[in-house]
């Protein structure tokens, strides 16, 4: 299964500190969505960069670019237009516990 990463660019600096109620609700849904991918096994890791620029990083498996793109575009925050996404092919070269 091919590996992919998508970056989720938050709408502004200090985003984690300044989320509105509507944004918090969408990010809760986003977190649940990722937990669902994790439960089914397609998610490898996810988390935000900390500090002033909060970029979400999602590493996951999908058969091909179309499938990978569909995973990214179904992310609740992208669907709701709250952030922008950037998809790239990825390779997990080293993984603690595996290599």
């Amino acid at each position: 299964m091919a590996e992919w990463v998508y970056l989720l660019h938050a709408p502004r600096e200090d985003f984690a500190e300044t989320m509105t109620e509507a944004e918090s609700a969408i990010w809760a849904r986003h977190f649940g969505w990722l937990r669902g991918l994790l439960a089914d096994g397609s998610l490898v890791l996810a988390g935000p960069t900390l500090g002033r620029t909060n970029t979400g990083i999602v590493v996951f498996e999908a058969a091909d670019q179309d499938a990978a793109r569909s995973v990214m575009t179904r992310d609740p925050v992208l669907r709701a237009g709250f952030a922008t996404g950037e998809l790239r092919p990825f390779r997990i070269s080293l993984l603690r516990g595996r290599d």
Partner: protein, 182 residues
Amino acid sequence: MTAYRDGDRTVVAIPARFSAAQEREWVARMLERLARQERRRRPSDDQLMLRAAGLSERYLGGLARPTTVSWATNQGRRWGSCTPSDGSIRISTRVQGMPRWVIDYVLLHELAHLLHSGHGTPFWALLDSYPHTEKARGFLEGYAFSRELGHAGHELGADLPDDERDDEPGDDSRVVTSTDVG
């Protein structure tokens, strides 16, 4: 520290620095914790009914009063269904093994349908007070979508932490296996 099922084995990861006595104590403790987590994730029909009653009391002012709540294998793509005329609720066995906050959301969703049939604003307003509604809806979407893509994952719930889990400090650098699956 973590504990999970791997086929018919149970794997408990504990810090390498633990003594034999600590290992015995923590393996027993982690197995008990795992069993507790599994009971929460795979409640019996009776437990489902009790959970539903508790959720109705807490989030719906006790207004939703189901007559039966049971697991069902015939729900197709639905996570659950209800029949307001006889007060029965069925929850898909696909939900078994999901975190408690997801199971509770599915229960609450069906309970709310005993009060409102559609998916309009009044319906969602009923679920507003449950703090995991959005997260649980996201979970079910993500899980279903991943399945649709044919990822066909591992045994559900095997290594998926509940949010309620109290994590223990320490590095998981030694693995103890046990065939006791409780």
